[in-house]
């Protein structure tokens, strides 16, 4: 071979290994056919040589034929010669250290954590690892659901026991990929065996396959034990992510108890410091899981944080799982609207239809169908009329509504004047109120010089012409062109066009003087000869925590039915009223200060994106505004950053939360010398899956060792001897250089074949054969 290498121009001292590769891609049937045809052809050739007398000639000719066939066969098989330069390399051993959270669980009676035991074992068995490193390349990895290389000197800093999931199948696959092309002779795994993907019995097929694919021994070293493992845990909470205000929310809780004994423990649900519900769970020996159902009723809107807790008993392995926080977004189920109509009219009919068909609205309507002066000409028993339940509505149930609408409604004699004070309180506590015009509204409804006048965003002038019965056009003052209540179309230009398309109205309550802090969103413009008269049509304002509006017409229904008659649709009418309801009930999308995060729930390690928006009271963007954004981790210090809003009044901020828990964001800015602000809430959740099955799984560790041909050991209170954890150490040559030569597609191979065939032909001719 040395000569052959030299002939090919290679230095035999440099290339110390050779190998033949066959490149031909012949299938078995084809090879079989060739294997049959060649001997058959040779037999026929052999019989044709029987006429030659000379034995030497016969043998020579037959030999040439065999050589030709052999060359031909070789060309079919496409041999290649590979020369390699190889060096001896070391075998590898991987030491895997389980870095998951379950290793932070204490062991008893020493109360050292399982991870501490691993550290101690590494220190105590330092001589074993030194000896191992003489014969092998020893690599260390931190593992959980993947393998992460670590230097021995970095272990103190990086071995933190914070990984949230254990999955040995993925770990072994990762290790195998890392040692592709290298010689891995085995693994030493330090772990508690708490792999959540594995059941209580045999290994899963996937884990078994990944173990065998490693190709080497897997020695397992158990960290920790289950003796005296004592723990009481809230294993699972099941509840909806959102709930309705004033409606019960159901919780299903699973409590897990281990070595707690016979005790009655209190499971307590709190919001902040207020106890909402408390239930007794009877813990008994022999049973480890308990299902508890609870119910609570949220009373305030928004994202609410609740906590469930169990008492922590002395000696519990894990205290962290005795308490869990969760979040519920509390929303309105439906907006409850009380709609009082002074008399049936088309305006009240079309508005009622819009309200009744709005799936977000729970409507209660009353119409005054007759007055005291009406002569019904029938006894009460033949009427469908019911007494107006003013006491029920304005004393007992007023606060169950979100919005009250008085539509062309004179309160006397149906509502006692004293109940108007209740309406005042309702508004100041956050309720919405709307007065819709007509001949029974405003001054004509007798509301002047009552508390209702104080609630309205307009004052009511006396001694004036009360009602305009002429047509007038509707205009939006430029300052409020962006007000969300007037948004019939998203696009600004199309919105303006939409308002221009709406029919003019006929019917306007006069003598309404907007208050200083009220906003005139719509004006009625009446052409009186040469003179243009402008009157407030829609005026909004705030009163206490509530919002109020005055719509000084009983003809808005023209924007519906008359618009249809003109070839349009009632869509803008419906949109207008939908906006009105949303604004009056404080829909968050209609706030002038908005703060939100891109998600409500984050995992540990995820960045949070905060978006803020600042608008003026007329809903125009407040750009270039400096706002202070504050947030505090659950057990940390308050942090504050300054943001400046852009052209649309928006600003963003991104940050990485410090740890798990609920974070409250607060934005604050100064306006007209006052500080105003808004809050938002989000939660960062640690994956607590590791604590769902906190027990040490010795059975799994033993099985892994057995299947792979490895050994099992346990770090106990006594001395640990790892010397029994041995590995094969075969010689491994690693090629560093290669050169390959083709043995068939070259001139001398073809030349040799032609030469052999030519010589055979000449000899046959000489022998008298054809």
């Amino acid at each position: 071979m040395k000569l052959f290498a030299q002939w090919l121009g290679l230095d035999p001292a440099e290339y110390n290994q050779w190998q033949v590769h066959w490149g031909g891609d012949l299938s078995i049937p084809v090879l079989g056919l060739i294997g049959l045809l060649i001997p058959l052809a040779l037999w026929f050739f052999g019989t044709s040589l029987s006429r030659i007398q000379s034995r030497i000639k016969r043998v020579g000719l037959f030999g040439l034929r065999v050589a030709a066939f052999a060359l031909l066969l070789m060309m079919f098989l496409q041999p290649q010669m590979e020369f390699r330069k190889s060096q001896a390399s070391r075998n590898s051993v991987a030491v895997l250290l389980d870095n998951s959270r379950s290793l932070s669980i204490k062991t008893f009676p020493s109360e050292a954590t399982r991870g501490d035991r691993v550290r101690q074992a590494l220190a105590d068995q330092a001589s074993y690892f030194e000896k191992l490193q003489k014969d092998f390349q020893v690599d260390f990895f931190l593992v959980s659901d993947h393998a992460e290389p670590v230097l021995p000197g970095e272990l103190d800093d990086r071995y933190r026991l914070q990984a949230t999931n254990t999955d040995f199948t993925r770990v072994f696959m990762d290790v195998k990929n890392r040692y592709q092309g290298k010689s891995l002779q085995g693994v030493v795994l330090f772990s508690d065996g708490a792999d959540l993907t594995q059941g209580p019995d045999d290994l899963s097929p996937e884990l078994r396959a990944s173990l065998l694919a490693l190709g080497g021994r897997v020695h397992t070293v158990q960290a920790g034990g289950n003796e005296n493992f004592k723990d009481l845990a809230i294993e699972n909470i099941s509840t909806a992510d959102f709930g309705f205000v004033h409606q019960p929310v159901n919780l299903s809780v699973t409590v897990h108890a281990s070595n707690i004994g016979n005790k009655n423990v209190s499971l307590v649900l709190k919001e902040g410091g207020t106890i909402l519900v408390s239930k007794i769970v009877e813990i008994r020996e022999g049973q480890d899981r308990y299902a508890v159902d609870m119910e609570f009723t949220p009373t305030e809107l928004g994202r609410r944080v609740y906590s469930l807790s169990l008492p922590v008993f002395a000696g519990e392995a894990i205290a962290a799982n005795n308490r869990r926080d969760f979040q519920v977004k509390v929303v309105r189920d439906r907006i409850r609207v009380l709609h009082l109509n002074g008399r049936p009219s088309w305006d009240s009919r079309f508005l009622r239809e819009v309200l009744a068909n709005n799936p977000k609205v729970d409507l209660l309507s009353f119409f005054i169908l007759r007055t005291l002066t009406d002569d019904v000409a029938a006894p009460t028993s033949e009427l469908s009329l019911i007494p107006f339940p003013s006491n029920l509505l304005f004393a007992d149930y007023l606060n169950s509504f979100d919005l009250i609408i008085f539509q062309n409604f004179r309160y006397e004699p149906f509502i006692d004047k004293k109940y108007l004070n209740n309406i005042q309180t309702f508004i100041q506590r956050g309720g919405g109120f709307l007065m819709v015009g007509g001949e029974l509204s405003f001054q004509m409804g007798g509301y002047d010089r009552t508390v209702m006048e104080d609630m309205l965003p307009v004052s009511l002038e006396g001694n004036v012409l009360k009602f305009l019965n002429d047509p007038y056009r509707v205009e939006i003052p430029a300052a409020f062109a962006r007000h969300p209540l007037l948004k019939l179309e998203k696009d600004f230009t199309r919105n303006r066009q939409a308002w221009e398309q709406l029919p003019s109205l006929t019917g306007l309550n006069l003598g309404l003087e907007p208050r200083k802090d009220a906003q005139i969103l719509l004006q009625g413009v009446h052409q009186n000869g040469e003179e243009k008269e402008t009157y407030p049509l829609l005026v909004t304002g705030r009163n206490g925590k509530g919002r109020v509006a005055a719509l000084a017409t009983d003809a808005s229904w023209d924007w519906n039915f008359r618009r249809v008659g003109e070839g349009g649709s009632g869509r803008y009418y419906q949109k207008f009223w939908s906006n009105m309801i949303a604004w009056l009930t404080g829909d968050p999308e209609m706030e002038t200060l908005q703060i939100e995060t891109d998600k409500e729930r984050y995992r540990e390690g995820e960045e949070v994106l905060v978006k803020v928006r600042v608008l003026y009271d007329d809903y125009n963007p407040d750009s270039g505004k400096t706002i202070q954004l504050s947030f505090a981790p659950p057990r940390g210090e308050l942090q504050t950053v300054s943001l400046i809003t852009g052209n649309e009044g928006e600003a963003t901020y991104q940050f990485l939360p410090a740890g798990e828990g609920f974070y409250r964001l607060h934005m604050e800015l100064e306006r007209d010398g006052n500080k105003i602000g808004r809050e938002a809430l989000f939660g960062v959740f640690a994956d607590t899956a590791e604590f769902m099955k906190p027990l040490v799984n010795a059975h799994l560790l033993k099985q892994m060792a057995e299947i792979s041909g490895g050994r099992y050991a346990a770090i106990g209170d006594g001395p640990l001897d790892l010397s029994m954890l041995t590995f094969s150490n075969p010689e491994v040559l690693e090629p560093s250089r290669r050169k390959t030569f083709s043995l068939w597609d070259n001139w001398w191979c073809f030349g040799l074949l032609v030469g052999i065939l030519s010589l055979e032909w000449w000899l046959r001719r000489k022998a008298g054969l054809s």
């Binding site: 008399r343 305006d347 309507s365 007759r370 009406d374 029938a378 469908s384 001949e439 019965n469 649709s569």
Partner: protein, 266 residues
């Protein structure tokens, strides 16, 4: 007010002749027409004009009904008579209309049907009243043909006795008119709202009153009691057009059901 404003303008102008003068006179006439004088916040119930027959064979009927509505309920009405063609541009100012007759009429054109269909589908209400007093009258045949063309996929159906219309103001158990040809109403509903009510018992004949307050027509068989029931039915129909299913709200149901159970209403 509108009329006096225009007269003031005429006095201030120089005398004009020819077409401008005609135009001014026409403008005055139009300005004085009843529809622009009517208070839009009050209920008006125009009568529908059609071709080929008398569209108002019972004068004073609608005015009579509206007078009763004003007397008995809180609804404010315009009692001035108003008649409109379906193609009148003012049609959509009046969400409820009345159609009466006593003989067959020319079919509505496709354009008229389209407008009427749109009118009813998007909020309007039509009361059709056969004033002939006979079953299978020419008016009845024309009405059924018209309704079939108006809503080919939604035929006229009997209005059930628990319909809101029968309890929108009075509790009503009987369907009558000047005569009793059919003791039930028929109607068409779209998305839960009854948009068209057809009565064959000549309600108009029971409602119509002259300027002296006397009833124009005798009521057949049931006398003045039957007239009162007819008036009640008319009031209920108007009340239904304005309040729809309001009386089916839960807050009203217990009292209504109790009254229906306790008292035997005619």
């Amino acid at each position: 007010m509108k009329t006096s404003g225009i007269l003031f303008t005429l006095k201030a102008m120089r005398p004009v002749t020819g077409i401008p003068a005609l135009l001014m006179v026409w403008t005055l006439f139009v300005a004085a027409s009843p529809s622009t004088l009517l208070d839009p916040s009050r209920l008006t119930m125009p009568q529908i004009k059609y071709r080929g027959a008398r569209f108002a064979p019972v004068p004073g009927a609608v005015e009579g009904l509206l007078a009763q509505v004003a007397r008995r309920t809180s609804i404010e009405v315009n009692r001035e008579p108003l008649a409109l063609e379906v193609t009148d541009p003012d049609l959509f100012k009046y969400p409820s209309i009345y159609m009466g007759g006593d003989s067959s009429f020319q079919p509505f054109t496709a354009e008229e049907l389209k407008i009427l269909r749109q009118y009813l589908s998007y909020g309007g209400f039509l009361l059709i009243d056969d004033n002939s007093g006979r079953a299978d009258s020419g008016f009845d045949r024309s009405v059924r043909s018209m309704v079939a063309q108006l809503f080919p996929h939604t035929p006229l159906q009997k209005i059930p006795r628990d319909h809101s219309l029968f309890r929108s103001f009075y509790l009503i158990n009987s369907v009558v008119g000047r005569v009793v040809v059919r003791p039930y109403l028929e109607g068409i509903s779209i998305k839960g709202r009854t948009v068209l009510v057809y009565n064959m018992n000549d309600l108009a004949g029971a409602w119509a009153r002259n300027s002296l307050g006397q009833w124009n027509y005798e009521v057949i068989a049931g006398g003045e009691t039957q007239r009162q029931w007819s008036i009640r039915l008319g009031v209920n129909i108007v009340m239904y057009a304005l309040t729809l299913d309001y009386k089916k709200d839960m807050v009203h149901l217990p009292i209504i059901l109790e009254r229906l159970r306790k008292y035997h209403t005619p």
